[in-house]
């Protein structure tokens, strides 16, 4: 079970990233829990200066814009 956090104040791309993560997880049969973090203080503490940010199992893997779908599945599989 992977704990995924999507950090962002609720912009379009943040929602898009949530969808991308769920799709990648479905495709590779990886169990995930996706949590959306919208609190600015929480976002800043994670070290993210550009949203959306992506944290997987407590580790920041991406910030700013949408990552490539391949990258997401690689992070989930790691």
């Amino acid at each position: 079970m992977k704990h995924v956090k999507v950090l962002g104040p609720g912009c379009k791309r943040c929602d898009a990233l949530v969808t991308m993560v769920k799709e990648a997880a479905n495709e590779y049969g990886i169990e995930v829990s996706v949590e959306k973090i919208t609190d600015y203080a929480e976002i800043a503490k994670a070290g993210v200066a550009s949203t959306p940010g992506l944290v997987i199992d407590g580790k920041l893997v991406h910030a700013g814009g949408l990552p490539k779908p391949d990258s997401i599945s690689a992070w989930l599989a790691a």
Binding site: P9, C11, Y40, A44, G47, S50, L60, V61, G64, K68
Partner: protein
Amino acid sequence: MSTQTETFAQPPHARQTALWLAGLAAFLAAWWGIYTHLIAFSEWLVSLLPVKRESHLGDALAFFFYDTPKVLMLLALVVFGMGVIRTYFSPERTRALLSGKREGVGNVMAAGLGVLTPFCSCSAVPLFIGFVSAGVPLGVTFSFLIAAPMVNEVALGLLFGLVGWKVAVTYLAFGLSLAVVAGWVIGRLKLEDWLEDWVKEISIEGTAGLPEERLTFIDRLKLGIDAVHEIVAKVWLWILLGIGMGAAIHGFVPEDLMVRIMGADAWWSVPAAVLLGVPMYTNAAGVIPIVEALLGKGAALGTTLAFMMSVIALSLPEMIILRKVLTLKLIGVFIAVVASGILAVGFLFNLIF
């Protein structure tokens, strides 16, 4: 990955890059070929229509058919170039570059990086907190936050297309100077205490944990193309509207209609334009129809640019978002400093052009 597989993978990859470069060169050549024939194209298009070329309508149509592809082509080129350059920058890396920088040098760097770093106003707040809490001085952060939305590829591309490269370059220079000076002044005022308390308490250490995504040159070109798609899809309607209005004015309205109100002789027109711009909130693309219409009616360039800068850099909704991290006093100072800067830019532009 072992070194062996890497050396193995390189030759086809190099070939692919060469292919992309060749494609890019061919595209640029075609771009230039079309761009230099736009007048002939628009005249030809009008000659197909049952309209007299010498009539008002013929004049307006020729202007529209020439200006629309011209502006879209220039915009696409500028956005593509900036899109590729921006893949080399990220807010996180910019923050690391600016962290602990002295004022002065820091302000100049921040303004320059503000133009190059990909930035979306929706992440202005996390970016602000992220910068300040990582040890970027407040004034330096403001230099970045002023330059990023104001001097962007859309504004530059559209000015380039609509009014010419000299104005675009001057706008770039003045926009950067404004960001540097305003940020420096805010830094001198030592207003760190005027941040909201919870912002002061956050401190980030060791944010270098983010691994860089490895991008090939082809990836960067693809991202540049993505940027063109995204931005042209967002702004084409505004551009058509603006050019349509401009064309109507070009064909029908007498040139000196607005000269008296917004011409260079009316000194109060610059402050009026700045005041008018504050409650309006739109991006560079949204102001363009207005800018085009104003210029078409004979408004002075400085006045028009002051209006444009005010709409983009000073907007109520953005102030309300920033209110989460800044105290009202600090927002007041920010508005006062930036507004004075825009006034100066407006007056200077009216003097120069």
